[in-house]
Symmetry: C2
Subunit: 323 residues, 2 copies
Amino acid sequence: MKAHAVIKDHVNLTPVMRSTALNSIAGKTLYFKCECFQKSGAFKFRGASNAVFSLDEAQAAKGVVTHSSGNHAAALALAAKIRGIPAYVVVPNSAPKCKVDNVKRYGGHVIFSEATMKSRQETANKVLTETGAILVPSSNDARIISGQGTLSLEFLDQAPELDTLIVPISGGGLISGVVVGAKSRNPAIRVLGAEPKGADDAAQSKAYGRLITLSHTNTIADGLRASMGDITWPIVRDLVDDIITVEDTEIIEAMRYCYEIFKVVIEPSAAIGLAAVLSNNFRKNPLWNCSQNIGIVLSGGNVDLGVLWESYGLQGHNLFGDN
Amino acid sequence: MKAHAVIKDHVNLTPVMRSTALNSIAGKTLYFKCECFQKSGAFKFRGASNAVFSLDEAQAAKGVVTHSSGNHAAALALAAKIRGIPAYVVVPNSAPKCKVDNVKRYGGHVIFSEATMKSRQETANKVLTETGAILVPSSNDARIISGQGTLSLEFLDQAPELDTLIVPISGGGLISGVVVGAKSRNPAIRVLGAEPKGADDAAQSKAYGRLITLSHTNTIADGLRASMGDITWPIVRDLVDDIITVEDTEIIEAMRYCYEIFKVVIEPSAAIGLAAVLSNNFRKNPLWNCSQNIGIVLSGGNVDLGVLWESYGLQGHNLFGDN
């Protein structure tokens, strides 16, 4: 896979963790790919660095643009910093300060817009025109998809016995790359998406056979609220085996298992694969439950733990200064 | 080292993590030995498994006893479970439920005593008499010290360029093992202890040249409140280069860096090495500040994050059932 060659010197080969306690609870053999230890704290760095390092010199010199306030923005800023080119990030003025700080920490240029999607796109277009930089969307983009797909090649090298992968689904960039990569290596492997019941556009889209987007989402998993696009949806429709939906309470309980057993810090979105395996829906579905060696992607670790530090009497401030 | 041969098939070879961001903040090159990923969630499993697996068959069959409610008790219970022998743990009836649950999770037999040290010792003696089991103290014990010392051999294999190690000091079992192991490998290496200002018995003992124990301690680092004994104190006195004391606020800030940068869950006691390196005392002391390649032991990850789960609306309960 070309993306693997492009980014392999830049990304961390993240470890795979296992737990006999969790295997016993799940009644399965589980493998956890720890992308919380990826650079920038999430798998998003794979796609972002593939986009940034695929550019030729002339394109690269003008920089990259995105309008996202989440993990993709921070990952793109870091990839651009490593290549030594500018990253422009359009952020709605309603975005939490910690997300803006993450972008700034990696040297990204933050440009504020109004909170509407229209204002974000207009602001991004203005930046594109003024700078000549290249737009790098967060999910619906071939460079992003193939970059995220490198995760599955690593995972299958680390655990060739996997018969199933469970992957969070939001915009569909991660699962599209993973399903293409994994099934090219092992056509018999099953790839299941996992999403919150309060943002179940992928499950609905698969059920109705057409791309459905939601006007309103309601979930604690802030990284799983986006919708698929015209590139990711056909891949999900044709290659992803099924979508599992889980309750927010199941997400938080799975998150707690990861903290208490693995001692890893993950964000709520990253817990959804374990939540899916432990859910009653999964156990009761014979098609899902026949999986035995299951790979789960712990997608990222960028979570605001302010309540924890406040409980220790620590004042809220930016650890990395105001740069 | 004999202990290494005894336990190497049982312990995890824990990873060493690094961060350019933290190096830049500290002005040093830092290496973090992640014992939060050790079995039972703390380095204590090294000493406990050395004690358990060093016993001959006849001794082992009668089991092991300790009176500790912390990480040592859980580690001893797990080591005994792996060998298939009983572990009896005397726990003061004032101990937090989560600590008792940890021991039970690994199959340890919990015997409650009054909260006084006199009652704990009397209860332990009663168990010893009734069962014929072997007492395994948490720190002041040659088997424990040499087990903990295996950590330094691994660490120097993983990062031979280390010129200094900073190690939490409480009962002194860990630092005694580490200083013996590290200086046998590299006599020029410096080993510094780190302890909270509110439990600075080691710093006072080194300053006065005699073993000082405190009747009262005051620190958030619950794993660092114990005192040295007649075996650990002479090793600390003669081989440990110096003791650094830090404020609780510095411990919590260092803990937060580890969560936010490394995405690892550590307990407050485990953050003290990083807190020491980042403290003003360290920077201002020319003898300490000449260290360049500094190894820090993240000693364990057993921390009660109840406030975090409550903030997510999760009810307090034992994830592992009431077994």
